[in-house]
């Protein structure tokens, strides 16, 4: 596997060439500070640019072109990482090694660049039909979380915990915000994307990277040079503890326990936390949450953990009967207490270190993981997997205790089962 970075005046190209993959994954990314953009507008724009373009003014035409590129897949993505907003234009295509057409690689790269550089704008306006379709879809997406009991509980509890920060907001915005977005707003935001954002291109796969760079120089242009340090965290403050019970319309009760934290050291963030999470709830029936919620006291089926450094919280969640919530909370508290007190068998601790590193190795079979890690390293100095392994080896049980003490339980959110559903 060969890592290589190509620096140009207004953008960088990060590449990983590997014979392992038959698929080539390519992203053109733009990064912004959330304070400089209106998030729902930017999300709308990125959705719209994934739908049609100047050359392919209908979705149908775009998909036919992709089928002619041997079933390549084009899509857009957007995410918020702390105070940074990343817009991605992605193309997945079969490695040119398997295709006889000599122009195939060039055509694939040209296709992706066209989507970014030539949006579906005529006479200073985005295509109104595409805009209306995307608007409808976003309205639907905003409601989608209500279809799943956990998603509903998660979104509602986040809104409650982060009522004073963007951490509680939906990246798609609200129905009112979406309705208020005009064609002019979208045009302005597209110009802003090119003027104010930092651009990077990522490529991974079995492909001649020098050739890719030659084609990208030919087809991708960005005039503005943006050199800025981006922040991948929201400075959320630890809230006072509260417990909330809400009636839900679902069959199973959802229990969510939030723990917040202030500052973590890089060692805690990149190494200690991985082991902490593994021992608390990710060790496949041998972790502490499994012990107290499933094995010693069978109350639940599945449990989960979500560690969100960008928004500064750790979430423990499970589904169960409402009558078992009290017992489950006792079990969770006991597991957390044992982490604080370092009640961890030494041999087991070493095994879990190996397991964490084994999980990292398994991820190395995933193209998006590999290129994503490389990108995070460039953007936020996140250590590459090789470096993280070295750090993980150094973690001690004392480090776990120190980290555990930094987590403060601030919200217990219970979405209570509905018992009046006749089918229940």
């Amino acid at each position: 596997m060969k890592y290589k970075q190509y620096d140009f005046e207004s953008f960088k190209i990060l590449t990983i060439s590997s014979e392992q993959f038959k698929n080539v994954h390519m992203e053109i990314n733009f990064i912004d500070d959330v304070d400089n953009i209106f998030i729902p507008l930017r999300s709308f724009l990125i959705n719209l640019m994934g739908y049609t373009s100047k050359i392919y003014p209908t979705k149908r035409e775009m998909l036919i072109a992709l089928e002619n590129l041997y079933n390549s897949a084009y899509y857009t993505n957007y995410s918020r990482l702390g105070k940074s907003y990343i817009s991605s234009f992605v193309l997945d295509f079969v490695s040119p090694r398997y295709i006889k057409d000599k122009k195939y690689l060039e055509n694939c790269l040209k296709f992706l660049c066209e989507q970014v550089l030539n949006p579906n704008i005529t006479e200073g306006k985005f295509d109104e039909r595409s805009k209306e379709i995307i608007k409808e879809r976003i309205h639907q997406n905003i409601e989608h979380y209500k279809e799943n009991a956990f998603s509903y509980a998660f979104c509602e509890s986040r809104k409650m915990l982060f009522n004073d920060s963007i951490s509680g907001e939906n990246i798609n915005g609200t129905h009112e915000e979406i309705d208020a977005i005009t064609n002019e707003d979208l045009i302005n935001d597209y110009q802003k994307l090119f003027a104010d954002s930092k651009a990077d291109i990522l490529i991974i796969g079995d492909v001649d990277m020098d050739k890719c760079v030659t084609y990208l120089k030919k087809y991708f242009q960005k005039k503005s040079i943006v050199e800025k340090q981006y922040v991948n965290q929201i400075p959320n403050k630890i809230k006072p503890y509260q417990k909330v019970v809400v009636d839900g319309g679902y069959y199973q009760t959802q229990l969510l326990v939030y723990l917040q934290f202030n500052e973590l050291t890089n060692f805690e963030l990149y190494a200690v936390s991985a082991l902490y999470l593994q021992i608390l709830g990710r060790a496949n029936q041998s972790d502490k949450l499994a012990k107290y919620l499933r094995i010693d006291n069978p109350l639940v089926y599945s449990r989960g953990l979500r560690f969100d450094y960008a928004n500064k919280y750790l979430l423990i969640y499970t589904g169960l009967k409402y009558e078992n919530v009290k017992e489950a909370l006792k079990g969770i508290d006991r597991a957390l207490k044992e982490m604080e007190n370092g009640i961890i068998d030494e041999e087991y601790f070493e095994i879990q270190k190996e397991k964490v590193m084994s999980n990292m190795t398994i991820n190395e079979d995933d193209e998006e993981y590999l290129i994503g890690e490389y990108y995070m390293n460039m953007l936020f100095n996140r250590p590459l997997p090789l470096e993280r392994r070295k750090l993980i080896k150094q973690v001690t049980i004392d480090d776990i205790k120190k980290l555990a003490k930094k987590f403060k339980k601030t919200l217990v959110y219970v979405l209570k089962e509905s018992l009046d559903d006749e089918e229940n």
Binding site: L63, E132, R137, Q140, N148, Y301, L320, T361, D365
Partner: protein, 422 residues
């Protein structure tokens, strides 16, 4: 070991049938960093009625799934044992199969032995059966909240009069509460025989290390010849059970699904895998994202999406199309009419065949996907599909027309899923 060549993409799957009847399939790729082993037991949630050793049995729905949970229990849970050797492990029950898997990066031999021991040296304990009851009930409650699960089983209930695939395969609350140790032991004895299993190993593995480890494990173990349970022939008739049904679930936008039940026996003398491929191509060229039909529905804001699929269910092929829509009353008729009046668009079909062939190249890249593909084709086709590319390359328009003329759309159902009223 025999080599099975996946035609046209230069991939090899190794196969051997052991003396006890266990089939072993191995796909090795030096570029992968990890490996996966899946022991598939060809016994799943639909197997409720069978005759074994001259005795007829009717068992609880959810028995296969309950047994899967119990197989993972012992003094120390199976999943925790795998964790100790650095691997991930899980188990899954579907309608025709129960699968036990490990994913790891080191200790391949230990992983293989641990999985075989867990399955073939199982000691059943009453306590374990009771211990798992609450987690299984919670799993059932979790699944009952899923709109997709509810729609899937409702559609089966509408399509089939007799097949036992119309109820949640984890069972109802009542089923789960009634399942006892003796029933689980019966199911284990009847179905958990090596001759009813396939061990599929994929990823960065040495083929000979795998097979020799498996053989070594079985060297001192004796199995009687498998007395194969005779599954009930449900004699499913060609008529559908319920033509139209409205249900309410947690969805926020209504969904319409229209499905047609087509007897496989209509296609006597034809290769069924080819038929299913052709029907999928027909659906895609009439309802897919590159059709004018979809474009028009989306642009008129009548639908948000369109989904479609042709698949085999025992002796029938189901052709299904559906969408999410704010206007279910209007769209229901449009979908029904379009399905009944599909056309053969030659250019569209030929372009799709070309692009699908490219996709086949990608299907042998990721070790988990390869394992899934092999396990699925063994379950539903009884063999590894080694000629998918060939099938697609040989599809000609006159053949599609021939198949199309055999199709009939008489047995059609429509499922309308509406949001629950607040």
């Amino acid at each position: 070991m025999k080599k099975i060549e996946i035609k046209g993409i230069k991939e090899i799957v190794y196969h051997e049938t052991l003396a006890n009847g266990l089939n072993v399939y191995i796909w090795s790729n030096k570029y992968c960093h990890s490996f996966e082993g899946v022991l598939n037991v060809f016994y799943g949630g639909d197997y409720l009625d069978f005759t074994w050793k001259n005795k007829k049995y009717h068992v609880h729905r959810g028995g296969a799934h309950y047994l899967e949970h119990i197989m993972c229990e012992s003094d120390e849970p199976m999943l925790a044992k795998f964790n100790k050797i650095g691997s991930y492990s899980n188990a899954v029950t579907s309608n025709m199969r129960t699968s036990y898997e490990f994913i790891g990066t080191t200790n391949l031999k230990e992983n293989i032995i641990l999985l075989l021991k867990s399955i073939f040296e199982k000691q059943f304990k009453e306590l374990e059966v009771e211990h798992e009851r609450v987690p299984i009930l919670e799993e059932q409650r979790m699944r009952y909240d899923s709109p997709d699960v509810k729609a899937y089983f409702t559609l089966n209930d509408m399509l089939f009069q007799k097949y036992p695939n119309n109820l949640e395969l984890v069972g109802s609350e009542e089923d789960i509460k009634e399942i006892k140790l003796d029933e689980l032991e019966l199911l284990y004895k009847a179905f958990y025989h090596p001759a009813n299993m396939a061990f599929v190993i994929t990823g960065n593995v040495d083929v000979y290390e795998c097979i020799s480890t498996i053989k070594k494990y079985f060297a001192d173990k004796e199995f009687n010849i498998w007395d194969k349970p005779k599954l009930k022939d449900y004699k499913e008739g060609k008529k559908v059970n319920i033509k139209r049904k409205i249900i309410e679930t947690n969805i926020k936008v209504p969904e319409i699904t229209v499905a047609v039940k087509v007897p496989i026996k209509l296609f006597k003398g034809y290769d069924i895998l080819t038929i299913v491929s052709i029907l999928n191509l027909l659906l895609e060229s009439n309802f897919g994202s590159t059709t004018l039909f979809k474009e028009e529905l989306v642009e008129k804001k009548l639908v948000y999406n369109l989904f479609y699929s042709a698949y085999k269910v025992y002796d029938y092929i189901i052709m299904e199309v559906g969408c999410r829509t704010k206007y279910p009353d209007e769209v229901e008729g449009i979908l029904q009419e379009k399905l009944q009046n599909m056309k053969i668009y030659e250019d569209e079909i030929m372009r799709k065949i070309k692009s699908l062939i490219a996709t086949i190249v990608l299907s042998y890249e990721n070790f988990e996907e390869v394992n899934d593909n092999i396990s699925n084709s063994l379950t539903y086709e009884g063999r590894i599909i080694d000629n998918e590319k060939e099938i697609l390359e040989n599809i000609k328009i006159d053949y599609i027309e021939e198949i199309f003329n055999i199709l009939n759309f008489k047995e059609m159902v429509t499922l309308v899923t509406l949001p629950k009223k607040d």
